[in-house]
Symmetry: C2
Subunit: 429 residues, 2 copies
């Protein structure tokens, strides 16, 4: 028997599709190196003799995937929520992000962010840093050491922001090239770069052209923001009179799917044409419900996304979202969809636990390849949940216990965590 | 100097009115027995020599007041949220509440509820039990031992519910009278009865008449539900053709404020006439945002309540709300008001941190008399918050730290708790 095979045992829950949960009570998750071989109710004879890590009655789920989070904003999570997007950027976000020019400050702040992310159920994430190359590298060093799999972007922004944080077009492109060179030298195992134009209002046409060149020569994925807030969308219309819609403004520069894997956060106000382009181009949507609530943006029509077969994952969008806890994000997704159904459009049924769990695992995981499920061949990212602290007097099914995790869990329930087949040390970090 | 005076020190935050926060950094909260004498930046000479409990840089706030929570439903918090009110009652609530006929089960379940409530920031609460007299007394015994101040109701319900939980009119009245007699014999210090007709659809006219008699002869306060869900409201219209509106159906029986202190949960769909009656009769509203979201009920127009000068407090409404954490309820109140503003009615501005904090303290506290503030003469309910575990790299003001509590805190931040001037033991419970 191959010695690289290992087995963990517990109440296994995962998604194959968006509509249902696969549950294997007291089942075996058999893995080889960094891959899943299979989930078994009864351990096949051929795996006999291999030691089993038995997690008893605990739950085992795929690692959660955060498709949209701003690392530097973690400092002001839960603060200054009484504004809409553009005012919030000017008042809270840009002043805080400017501090990351100071590497000492960045080190202190990013240590808190990485430490908390690591303690939670997230195993993979798409992360915005700031415009600052040195601080971005520092963040990537820390994330690499954490063992989580991440895509991290130095932000590009050469217009419509305060001087103290604005790059020139040339500087933005050159710093990005230098950043990518330094990333390559570091030869990270878990941490990769992702091209990160902040959003259309922050990036000139000239910068977008340069970024496309950089994207092509480095075969980079792309992350940005799309159709989040009505004022932002109006602004994009004025800035880009030739674009058919907001997403088209990215697409005109080749930074909207097609030949580059792209994830766009929000899509609260994406209309039919934009959604069709998203589908055609294979763009991923990061649904960030708490952010969309806190900034009074609205609620994205996720039911429509799912019905159209779009690729949708969950994003915490800290600090417009207050927490990196993706279980909380799932609860917010269900809750926001209910209020949207009640107050805006009762043709779109509220989301279910099955659907949001799929989005937070396999849905977002697809952006990283075969991640977010326990089907054979998937990367072995798993989280072991101990819900024994959330007491109850009655019997609960495994599915009910998972539903409780969505509404009630915090990092106290995270008992063990595996990324790419490796068990992370959760304490002492 | 009177020896019954005691002093605690820390960053004191409280509300005098709904619009602003009073902040006294490193201030002194001077108390005598169960009452507040005053908040001082510099300790007056006359209090020199009295020992001071110094909580350092921690926050000190008034205890939070939960105006609406169902103790037996705590068992299924975070479960079965994919329904609206009436289906949810039939499917989840009545079957669970029926179990409380078994005193052993009740003991086990209520111990969990009381234990968790005690660990949180709540110091006072209006609590629904079930129809069962013995289990209700058992709950009251436990709450009394906890040291929190509560109003607890045996539920009355003689129609429109499954047989296994339905009382006859006579039985409901007689059991209530017997329950009140037994409560009186127990001579609780912290725990008082509150009359609890479940809601109009669950109570016949004959029962309501009996309950008014019981209310008058015992001078009881009253709690119930009002205008929560469109189907429920239609049903009440059919059941009570003579009532001008839902609230009038209570008022016709004298169970809607005026001569009896009354708190009604929800009021999501209360229209002008009902709101005016609420004002005229001095009825309190328990705003339960998470419940209203989870059951797809909608969002109550709290801005309108405040503008009209109505009496509004916060309710967790477990288990339609998933948590007894009233900080989370405050966050949900702000969040729900933002989506209501965005999707339904932009004439009603979103709620602020100041407003929801007021509602969760002084607003709801008024139902208990002078509670929920640190103004002189108020009852001394205080919670000491240790937010040092929620790390941040920058300086934060006391007000910012309170705002973070609204979004980020759980029971790990509850460092000490005083109710009626007595410090509760938080561990070992």
């Amino acid at each position: 028997m191959r010695t690289s095979v290992f087995i963990i045992k517990g109440n296994i829950v995962y998604s194959k599709d968006v509509h249902s949960l696969e549950v294997c009570e007291h089942g075996y998750l058999v893995c080889e190196e960094n891959r899943i071989l299979g989930v078994y109710q009864t351990l096949p004879f051929r795996y006999g003799g291999i030691p089993i890590e038995d997690y008893g009655d605990r739950l085992i789920i795929p690692g959660l995937v955060d498709l949209h989070v701003h690392a530097p904003q973690y400092s002001f999570r839960g603060l200054g929520m009484d504004m809409e997007l553009l005012e919030w950027l000017e008042t809270n976000t840009f002043p805080e992000e400017a501090k990351f020019q100071d590497e000492e400050y960045a080190k202190q702040a990013y240590r808190i962010f990485v430490g908390h992310l690591r303690k939670g159920a997230t195993t993979r994430a798409c992360i915005f840093a700031t415009v600052h190359r040195p601080a971005t590298l520092l963040l990537m060093d820390m994330l690499e050491a954490s063992g989580m799999k991440t895509l991290v972007g130095k932000v590009n922004m050469d217009r419509n922001c305060p001087n103290y944080i604005q790059e020139t077009t040339e500087e933005s492109a050159e710093e990005t090239i230098r950043w990518l060179r330094e990333v390559k030298q570091r030869a990270y195992e878990h941490t990769q770069p992702i091209l990160t134009p902040r959003f259309i209002p922050g990036c000139s046409d000239a910068l977008m052209e340069r970024l496309k060149e950089i994207q092509m020569s480095n075969q980079l994925p792309v992350q940005s923001h799309l159709s989040e807030n009505p004022s932002e969308i109006d602004w994009v219309k004025r800035l880009c009179p030739k674009a058919e819609f907001y997403g088209d403004a990215y697409d005109q520069f080749g930074l909207f799917g097609r030949d580059c894997k792209t994830v766009m956060a929000h899509c609260v106000y994406s209309e039919r044409e934009e959604l069709e382009r998203i589908k055609e181009n294979g763009v991923y949507i990061a649904h960030c419900p708490e952010s969309n609530i806190n900034l009074s943006s609205g609620v994205a029509p996720v039911r429509k996304f799912l019905d159209m077969g779009l690729r949708v994952g969950m994003g915490s969008d800290v600090a417009a979202g207050s927490s990196v806890n993706l279980f909380t994000a799932m609860a917010h997704a269900i809750q926001a969809s209910k209020l949207r159904w009640r107050m805006l459009d009762n043709s779109l049924k509220p989301l279910t636990v099955e659907e949001v769990f799929y989005m937070a695992t396999k849905g977002g995981g697809a952006f990283f390849g075969k991640a977010g499920s326990f089907e054979p061949g998937y990367e072995m990212d798993a989280v072991v949940l101990d819900d024994s602290g959330l007491k109850h007097p009655q019997e609960l099914t495994v599915k009910q216990r998972l539903e409780r995790m969505v509404y009630l869990s915090d990092d106290r329930q995270i008992y063990a965590k595996y990324v790419g087949g490796k068990k992370l040390e959760l304490e002492n970090w």
